[in-house]
Subunit: 321 residues, 2 copies
């Protein structure tokens, strides 16, 4: 391989990770986490969500977080925006990008967002109009793009139609979300290739979960299919709390570790990233699913046992005997 292909990693842990924590992470700790993530080569950080504090108390400090962080040039600080009220709050906090969400599955959308897809789409259209007026770019995340835990398979055509709807209204990015870990590599490659072939000027991001162990296989398949942007969560924190069986966003440090090994340039400083992840358990009070935190990089050297020279001497003595 000559020139390495550049990929762009979006860490969603401050939002998608922390919103699922049982205990409230203090605002200062959230800010420290985002500031740490800002300096290590991530292209985008989903910093918080401007949801109703009653709906998600864990992120009730969205405004304080956005105002408290030290913005690093080049890093896009995005936030999840559920509705017009959230969008107004987000604009006051000068978020760099709105991330809007709805589901490809009618059942999942109703269960998760309490709206029909048609209602969600028109509510998001209003948010997009506001964003357009304010000059803020919009990314739309399509949940259940690879299957719904209640409905089963979803029609890839429906994914394309929703993407087309939002791209037509000015979305600059679309994220295809494997919300409950139903995606598999050939499916990911097929849908991403189809998407890339149609939406030539739209940033495509892939968001996968490791629910069925295929997160990194899916990421590899997507990268080979031409996807250049990936969501991931530090430590593997988070997932969708409403989706049955959901667990585990793909882990940022495990993903970067693999992508760099197979020849991509993620731009991320892996050791610094792992250092961030190492601090998570004390921040949130429990272990994280990260393999890097447990095992370290593949080039981590373990010491030989203290008795090694003795073992060798005894082995060689057998030959002499």
């Amino acid at each position: 391989m000559s020139e390495r292909i550049r990929l762009f990693i979006n860490d969603v842990s401050p939002r998608d990770g922390l919103q699922n924590e049982a205990s409230f992470v203090p605002t200062a700790d959230k800010i420290a986490l985002i500031d740490a993530l800002s300096c290590i080569g991530l292209c985008r950080i989903e910093a918080t969500s401007f949801v109703s504090p009653k709906a998600i108390p864990a992120l009730a400090d969205a405004a304080q977080v956005m105002q408290g962080i030290t913005r690093v040039p080049g890093v896009i600080y995005t936030a999840l925006i559920p509705n017009l009220r959230g969008a107004e709050r987000a604009l006051e906090c000068r978020v760099d990008e709105f991330n809007l969400v709805m589901s490809v599955s009618e059942t999942h959308n109703l269960t998760n967002l309490r709206m029909t897809r048609a209602q969600s789409a028109s509510a998001l259209d209003e948010v997009m109009a506001l964003a357009r007026a304010a000059g803020v770019p919009v990314n739309v995340s399509l949940s259940c793009s690879f299957g719904c835990p209640m409905e089963g398979d979803v029609d890839p055509g429906e994914v394309m139609r929703l993407a087309d709807h939002f791209v037509g209204r000015g979305a600059t990015g679309i994220t295809l979300c494997d919300t409950t870990g139903m995606a598999y590599p050939t499916q990911v490659a097929d849908l991403c290739r189809r998407h890339l072939g149609v939406f030539l000027n739209t940033d495509l991001t892939l968001h996968v979960h490791d629910t069925r162990g295929m997160a990194l296989a899916n990421v590899m398949a997507a990268a080979q299919a031409g996807v250049r942007r990936f969501d991931a969560s530090l430590g593997g924190l988070g997932g969708c709390p409403y989706a049955p069986g959901a667990s585990g966003n793909a882990c940022t440090e495990d993903m970067v570790h693999m992508l760099e090994l197979i020849g991509y340039d993620t731009g991320v400083h892996l050791d610094a990233l792992i250092a961030c992840a190492d601090r998570l358990p004390s921040l949130i009070g429990h272990p994280v699913p990260s393999q890097m935190v447990r095992a370290g990089r593949r080039d981590r050297r373990h010491p030989v046992p203290a008795s090694f020279e003795e073992i060798r001497a005894r082995a060689l003595a057998r030959d002499a005997a």
Copy 2:
């Protein structure tokens, strides 16, 4: 894709899994496990190890296990054979195949087997001579084929030299083992392709661990590179107890789930396999890392919430209002 490519799955849980359990699994339970695995399309089962009962008390019942199982035609019952004494015991029990092991890394071989590689190779040569005389096929598993946790990278040329040594002495199969989860997909594809190109009449098996989250990505890369045989362990049980940082054999049911989804024919009945894995926690007294046990297949349907019709009615009422 027209005709699906046939893969062959070797479950190593009765040996590589159970030998790492803290408590002794009763012989009858081991036999029941192997008998259950025999009827679901696995091509090969590593049933036990004929090691010294003092070295590994967990497998002290190797002979009783081999004599107690009900052999299913077409399934190869293999056993790990550490030395001549073990080989003699294994022959008495009519194992179908010997699986011999040594490490590509001198440091790992000394630490793990208390012998230099040269000593291991000549000890295994004696076992192979015995096997040849008895007409029993031999597979040689090369530990640390993708890296050593103490030495770091290993020379792929050394892997090839050791494979050549054993193929030259009649080994019918070689297993390239990622003993501590250091392998990554491009490395796996490169080494496997090189091996397949040289050893045309030797069965190549890949044995990977999920220590760094890349097990299934590595398996996919290997399958695409032409590998047709894979080791895996029910429930993801086991790993190498002597290797620092080692954890988690690739999980059989997670692997079969992915391989079938991406278009390969594993020959394995996935639901029956998951049913076997579901019984493991009660057998061994702790949870297993299997994603299938936790989340189920991707086509598992979750019920809609009891309040779903109410949610929908309330949503639709908003439109009417």
